[in-house]
């Protein structure tokens, strides 16, 4: 038996064009992997493929069904619902009930009854990340989770990830900053499948 998440020879596509090819890694319980790469290098496409939102062009993603909790740029936060209502909804969808841990982990306790539309960008992001805790799923697949977070919130996020890893989870995180987590790094640049422009820089149109 391998790890929680095994990716072998994966080729991912965007709009029918291969973006990354030959990507392979294994995530064991308690391990995290940081994805590095320039803007437009295909990190999001890779993460969406791993999360099962789009089919791989080639290669395999082996993961237990219903193991992945995915979080992307958009938080899926409903503006007219309060923080607690937003979290309670996702908790209900994932069949858990307690949202207190998630509120505490991201220091949202004082904001629980506030409508999400009255939150700042960073607070909204914290709410989006708190959702990961209520999913109760072992593999976190996170796409630039620290965008718009301040230094303290990044610290909260890092400790939430560490608590998740300590509890036997795993995390695959695309980010540009140093999270202060003890984790392996994977630079996707060598896996680039296409020469996008004459200058050889990545096409910004790919997100």
């Amino acid at each position: 038996m391998g790890g929680l998440l095994e990716v072998k020879d994966l080729t991912v596509q965007r709009g029918g064009i291969a973006v990354l090819s030959g990507v392979g890694f294994t995530l064991d319980a308690g391990a995290a992997l940081i994805l590095r790469g320039a803007n437009g290098s295909g990190k999001t496409t890779l993460l969406r493929t791993v999360a099962g939102l789009q089919p791989p062009m080639a290669g395999t993603v082996r993961v237990a069904p219903d193991a992945i909790a995915y979080a992307a740029h958009a938080d899926g936060v409903k503006a007219v619902l309060t923080v607690a209502e937003n979290l309670r909804f996702w908790a209900g969808v994932y069949g858990s009930v307690a949202i207190e841990d998630a509120l505490a982990a991201f220091d949202l306790g004082g904001l629980a009854e506030r409508p999400a539309q009255a939150l700042s960008a960073g607070q909204k992001r914290r709410l989006g990340l708190a959702r990961l805790i209520v999913t109760g799923r072992p593999v976190w697949v996170l796409d630039e989770p620290t965008v718009s977070l301040d230094r303290a919130a990044v610290g909260l996020f890092a400790s939430a990830v560490q608590a998740h890893l300590a509890a036997g989870g795993a995390a695959l995180i695309a980010t540009h900053i140093d999270l202060g987590i003890d984790a392996a790094e994977l630079d996707v640049t060598p896996c680039r499948a296409i020469a996008t422009t004459a200058q050889g820089v990545f096409d910004e149109a790919f997100r």
Partner: protein, 218 residues
């Protein structure tokens, strides 16, 4: 899935949720028709079933693009796709929420607005029955159209063009039930066909819409 239904209903009734939009539109259309047609009670009575059905259909159409578009824009749809709910269930629940917030109020308002159009006495029960049977098909077909156009910016026009032809059979049989009922004729045939369309839509379209959503999320 019940959570999703509750959330969608809560979103619809809160500020900016669009609840009442269809109902207000329906009200305006039906109130304006007698002014446009003139105070000819015989003529109004004859066109009443058709006008009521067309009004309900257009009111339904008005809020279709909200079914998936808002969830798509804020990322909820991606998250729902990775959640432990089958996509078919998401579609069915969202269509049901659309019906509860749009179709059901139309059904309840229709008899009162029938008075405005001098709908003949025996027609009221058949009008309500035809709308109860027919509007779920409108919501379900609409959810399918919304799933097809979810990724498009300003997809509303395309959505209307896609959905309108699919609405025609429901409109024909729905109007026919109400018209025949109002004139005291047998309604069994159009009623059975209307129910058949609705049942087929509810049974088949969640799968088609879920497939369309999966493609659009890629």
């Amino acid at each position: 899935m019940i959570r999703l239904l509750i959330r969608d209903l809560a979103l619809a009734v809160r500020a900016g949720g669009g609840f009442g939009l269809g109902l207000a539109f329906f009200l305006i259309v039906i109130v304006l028709v007698p002014f446009g047609v003139g105070p000819e009670t015989v003529l109004l009575a004859r066109i009443a079933p058709g006008i009521l059905w067309i009004g309900a259909l257009l009111a339904c159409l008005l809020s279709l693009d909200r079914i998936f578009q808002l969830d798509f824009e804020d990322g909820s749809l991606d998250l729902l796709a990775t959640a432990p709910i089958p996509m078919e269930g998401v579609v069915a629940v969202k269509a049901l929420a659309h019906w509860l917030t749009t179709g059901l109020p139309l059904v309840m308002a229709a008899p009162f607005l029938g008075v405005m159009l001098n709908l003949p006495g025996p027609g009221y029960a058949w009008l309500v029955l035809s709308l109860v049977l027919g509007t779920p098909a409108l919501s379900m077909i609409g959810a399918f159209g919304a799933a097809l156009t979810v990724g498009l910016k300003r997809g509303g026009l395309l959505l209307s063009l896609l959905v309108l032809p699919l609405y025609v059979p429901t409109l024909i049989y729905g109007t026919e039930v109400a018209r025949r009922g109002a004139e005291g004729l047998a309604v069994a045939t159009p009623l059975a066909l209307l129910a058949g369309i609705t049942l087929a839509a509810v049974a088949l379209l969640p799968f088609a819409a879920a497939a369309a959503l999966r493609v659009n999320l890629r």
